[in-house]
Amino acid sequence: MVAMSDWVELNIGPHHPSTHGVLRLKARVEGEMVREVEPVIGYLHRNAEKLCENTFFCDNIIYFDRMDYVGAPGMEVGYLEAAEKLLGVFPPERAVWIRTIMAELSRIASHLIWLAAFGLELGMLTPFFYCFDLRESILTIFVEASGSRLLTNYCSIGGVYQDFNEKITDEVEKFVQDAPKKVEEINSLFIKNDIFISRNKGIGVLDKNVAIEYGVTGHMLRASGVEYDVRKAEPYLAYSKVNFEIPTSTKGDNLARYLVRIEEIRQSIKIISQSIKKLPEGPFFNPKAKKSMMIRLRGDGEVYARTESSKGEFGVYIVGDGGVKPYRVRVRSPSLRNLSVMRELGRNVMIADLVSILGTTDLVFGEIDR
């Protein structure tokens, strides 16, 4: 029975169309207004950190694939940044560039999923399919490279699983040529719509200081006016050798987040087009890490490596004790921090706005619950 009081406790999720999986929001609702939100998470918890302690360094990559499952290669890169520093096995030049391309492709793939779901959250059915159409061409490249669409397991310690052959580079070049036009088309489906603008402008304004307090990173922090992108702040892979810009905005609202992300897609395409031109010849894996040697790699000490995943600052902290398995692995999940700020953003908004704010935070629960 509905309680006889001014407010009602509304359970949004865990099985709700707009919670991207298994988020549960305990909302105190007065009519249409949401007064307070308390996110409840943990429904997809597998404790990947514990699993990592019980497997070899080289096998742990698959657990990272399953974190941000819409952009798996980006997660692999994040893990390998830490693991390779710990093990002292570094990939050759060609593998670095290939990883850069894969990481940027996965960023675009992840952003497109977000854009598709964001459209659905606002009640737009059509852009969903346009986003998936473009994403499909990225997944084709993933299939060619790794044999798998979603959970690629492509990067490995000291290199990549298989070299970029002629066919893959052709596919990437074709993607680079086609994508900008398609991105503009998708963008025009959103940005030329007055209702879309009115639903997002000035909604869910995230103050810069609040964002820093809550550890928010990624597009949400950049939309609030902090120019922080790990690709620039601490360049990894080949990001120091390519030209790209970090889009920022000072508005901090939903629309700013949307615009920042669209610009990120454009910049990623730019990075890929440069990378595929600069792709050097040479070996694609480090002979120290060839298959028979891989499980014998030992790591000592501790390394914290950060990468810019599609959601924000993705950190991996690995502690080794000189064994073939990591002693402790700790993952900094950007979505978790971006979700935690919902407690601030979800105050005194309408239910419809709560859903659209939740949409712009871009949550992936494989990564939050781990």
């Binding site: 029975m1 509905v2 009602v8 509304l10 709700h16 169309p17 707009s18 609702v29 009519g31 249409e32 459209g119 659905l120 959250e121 606002l122 009640g123 737009m124 059915l125 059509t126 969903f128 399919f129 346009y130 159409d133 489906l189 719509n193 209702i195 879309f196 009115s198 639903r199 309408m350 239910i351 419809a352 706005d353 859903v355």
Partner: protein, 346 residues
């Protein structure tokens, strides 16, 4: 001659009362069946059109080009278990979908469909107060939605029902005022200015050309009445799961679904009757029904395009739109219509 009189003449041997009863019964059943088929065709057309817009193929497995897909869906819905929530209010819960569907079907029977070759005029009811009846019947459907929302005892349903009510109140008034403008204009030329058929028949130019503002308000009202995007706040899928129909399943849900598409079809008929000249066309060769259908299909295509491209508007903004924009516009339209009628005699 008309459909009614032809049927009547067949049964006239039974005497006045019996034959009148049988005539209306048979004609109503015919209309019910035709309307059901038309709704199914609308849904099929919508799914194909949506697929075309969204780079997909659409239904293509059941029957040639997926034409039997909707029959299959209907059979599936009938075969499904209708899950009843434990905390429901039993009677209103069960009555609500029937109310929505009945209101829709009665509304179909109140429209004149023009003449069709040898059959003659196609209509069931030619009431002298048809316009009032029509909108009274249309007002039954929100009651069904409200009952569904409240009796489900679900917070999402309740919120959805309250949203529907807020929405209905804010667009019904401007919509009725713009209909009043038509009645005002028609009253100059016909004594039966509340009879839909005589309103449509007596026009010189389609009312949509004389009253573009009225057409605008009325069309927005019809979109909101059918509650599809951008005005589907009542059942907004991503916010309220499914709004007032959250707790419904099986055929009860099917009735809501059919009700929605039926309202789109009905709305396009009403818009083309009132504003686009209805069954009037360039040649009077008993082609009225065809003209009406063509106009209705054009309106339906426009409606579907709006549906597929627009995001959902927020409920408070819609209420704002209704009272701050649509209401003044409809009043201005009424005043303009009055002037046109008085001084120009249109």
């Amino acid at each position: 001659m008309s459909l009614l009189s032809r049927t009547y003449s067949i049964f006239s041997i039974l005497g006045y009362y019996a034959s009148t009863f049988i005539t209306y019964l048979i004609d109503s059943i015919i209309l019910l069946l035709v309307a059901a088929v038309a709704i199914i065709l609308t849904i099929y057309f919508f799914r194909k059109y949506m697929a075309r817009v969204q780079l997909r193929i659409g239904p293509n497995r059941v029957g040639k080009y997926g034409t039997l897909q909707l029959i299959a869906d209907a059979l599936k819905l009938m075969g499904k278990e209708s899950i009843l929530p434990r905390l429901r209010d039993d009677l209103p819960y069960k009555v609500a979908p029937i109310l929505v569907f009945t209101g829709l079907m009665i509304a179909f029977s109140l429209l004149p469909y023009g003449s069709f070759f040898w059959i003659g005029d196609v209509f069931i009811s030619n009431s002298g107060v048809g316009i009032i009846l029509l909108f009274a019947v249309l007002a039954i459907m929100p009651i069904g939605e409200l009952l569904a929302g409240i009796s489900s005892h679900n917070k999402y349903s309740l919120t959805g029902a309250l949203r529907s009510v807020a929405k209905d109140i804010s667009f019904e008034v401007p919509m009725m005022i713009s209909v009043l403008a038509i009645v005002v204009m028609a009253s100059a030329r016909t004594p039966e200015s509340l009879n839909i058929a005589s309103v449509v028949s007596s026009e010189i130019l389609p009312y949509g050309i004389l009253q573009p503002l009225g057409l605008f308000v009325f069309y927005i009202g019809m979109i909101a009445r059918a509650s599809y995007s951008p005005f589907d706040m009542g059942e907004s899928e991503s916010e309220l799961v499914s709004g007032y129909s959250t707790e419904y399943s099986g055929m009860r849900f099917g009735l809501f679904y059919v009700g929605m598409f039926g309202t789109i079809l009905l709305g396009s008929f009403i818009v083309s009757l009132f504003y686009l000249g209805g069954y009037n066309g360039p040649y009077q060769w008993n082609l009225g029904l065809i003209y009406l259908l063509i106009k209705a299909v054009v309106v339906i295509v426009i409606s579907f395009t709006v549906w597929l491209t627009m995001p959902r508007i927020r409920i408070d903004k819609f209420v704002n739109l209704g009272w701050k924009y649509l209401f003044p516009i409809s009043v201005i339209n009424l005043i303009l219509a009055g002037f046109l009628t008085l001084y120009l005699g249109w």
